[in-house]
Symmetry: C2
Subunit: 314 residues, 2 copies
């Protein structure tokens, strides 16, 4: 009884609550009231741990294979190490070096693939044929992923402050569909949810306009490497369609500007994908002016060299 309760507590506490940061000097500059909900101090440095832990702890399989541009890989490797499972992460050879190293350090096996030759999905299919006993985890297109990420929406919904809009990055749609689900579950007044997507990979914005999933021809080479996805997932699209008011298409230079602003006025170190939500505010100020805006900072893992270049504006 004691040990069962002890285990329950441990499982519940594996996911860390998000960190809320205020930035009054940024508010003044942008003419909005910002609430920064940063997942940079989540286990493994991004929101992905919420999903990964929920998947790894709910599937019966003891081996997990996943494709990931990095953060989901770290998260799954760490979740599996906590739960004594094994995992293999398929990553593009262009992934940030720190992300590859981290997966290995957390005990995961990294399988590097040149996405110009073979897609990550094709490589995952190959591996799954070799390991029929493994669970193939999508970084976004999985109800368990959405459920895991919904905990962030529940936390934001429970904040003791009035919010008009929640903005979050869109890649495969795992985060934003989870947020929508979680915010609906919380008992607070419904807030508007806005997506932030790199203009270079704007398949989700095009999907919203078309009314069906639109697919990029190749992985978009945006600096926001967490959003280098071919398309939204089906499970994510089912939630996004009809619940997302709009998706702001963010130019690369706004991502860099937002990263710098978060450094200077919020003391936050964020990765380019994490800066997308603030970059959306910079891109379409009219949409946000005078309102209470929660920007979800999805993660913080970025190579020091790349980050230093962004600070130097080069």
């Amino acid at each position: 009884m004691m040990s069962e309760k002890g285990l329950e507590i441990q499982i519940e506490s594996a996911v860390r609550p998000t960190t809320i940061v205020d930035a009054p000097r940024l508010d003044k500059r942008l003419g909005v009231t910002l609430t920064l909900a940063t997942e940079t101090f989540q286990c493994t440095g991004s929101f992905k741990f919420r999903a990964a832990y929920n998947v790894a702890s709910n599937v019966p399989q003891t081996m997990i294979i996943a494709a990931s541009s990095g953060n989901f890989g770290q998260a799954m490797a760490y979740a599996c190490s906590l739960l004594k499972k094994s995992c293999t992460i398929v990553m593009p050879v262009t992934s940030a070096k720190v992300k590859v190293e981290a997966v290995i350090e957390y005990g995961g096996h990294v399988d590097l693939v040149d996405v110009r030759v073979k897609s990550r999905a094709d490589r995952v299919r190959e591996l799954s044929e070799q390991h029929p006993e493994a669970y193939i985890a999508s970084a976004y297109d999985d109800p368990l992923v959405i459920e895991g990420n919904s905990t962030l929406g529940i936390e934001i919904g429970a904040l003791e402050r009035q919010l008009d809009i929640v903005v979050a990055p869109v890649g495969g749609g795992g985060l934003i569909s989870g947020l929508i689900k979680g915010l609906k579950q919380s008992r607070k007044k419904i807030v508007e949810v806005v997506g932030a997507e790199p203009l270079l990979g704007n398949d989700a914005a095009r999907s919203l306009r078309a009314g069906h999933i639109v697919v990029n021809e190749s992985e978009p080479q945006t600096i926001a490497d967490g959003a280098r996805t071919l398309s939204l997932g089906k499970h994510n699209w089912a939630i996004i369609q009809g619940n997302l008011s709009t998706i702001v298409e963010v130019p690369e230079e706004k991502i860099i500007e937002a990263t710098r602003l978060l450094f200077e006025f919020a003391n936050l170190k964020v990765e380019p994908t994490g800066a997308l939500s603030l970059a959306a505010v910079l891109t379409h100020p009219d949409l946000f002016r005078g309102r209470s805006v929660c920007c979800v900072i999805s993660g913080g893992n970025v190579d020091p060299g790349i980050y230093a270049s962004m600070l130097n504006g080069t």
Copy 2:
């Protein structure tokens, strides 16, 4: 009645609780169990707001004059703006540009002084003669400062985890004397408190060895600009003497290394002074190995250019 209660709540909530960050990858590398207590998300980006707000809200004067290498200035400017008081901050011309700008933005008046010609203390004396109605606030040598900073010690003492050592930067001694006071007030088991001081300005370490306050001949030109003080304050020394087990003298290169490690493995953007506590662990690993160590990160305000150079190791 209602409004009085409302005001009380506002005053109590002006200081933000510290942010606790874990860094398991750093733990593995250093062989310690780290608890990072970071004040980088405190109002104005450093612990100094705790002190400044306590001073500004407790003295009857409506004008405040203070000497500060920057963070205390920002903190006092913001505290005064919240409390509808005015303040003048005397700063060295060599202060980080972001710190000078911030003081002005928070509504403070900045009085720049070339410390090679005239000490900040001398300039404060001049100003106080011109404004006899003003309160002259020390950034460290004031019981109200120590009391304000003690709230951080109380918070750390209340953490639901066992700690062996708390390490914190030492400049004038305001932070560490407050920590000692706060930790004593909390009802937890007594923890050892260790100071971290730049080797280039090791007056506090020399004071501890001598048994009396030793004064630097000039302001030490360490990269840790928050520790460019001539000596410990008298009120601080009274608490430090007999309660501080040791002060680690940290070489400049360890400050830079610690700043990088906090970036890479804790997603924390910290200023050089803020990295002193982790730098102490790097400098004297034997002192900390195998123990549960709380490193206090005092602040995060640093010029982007300087920070980028530190990341690039130049």
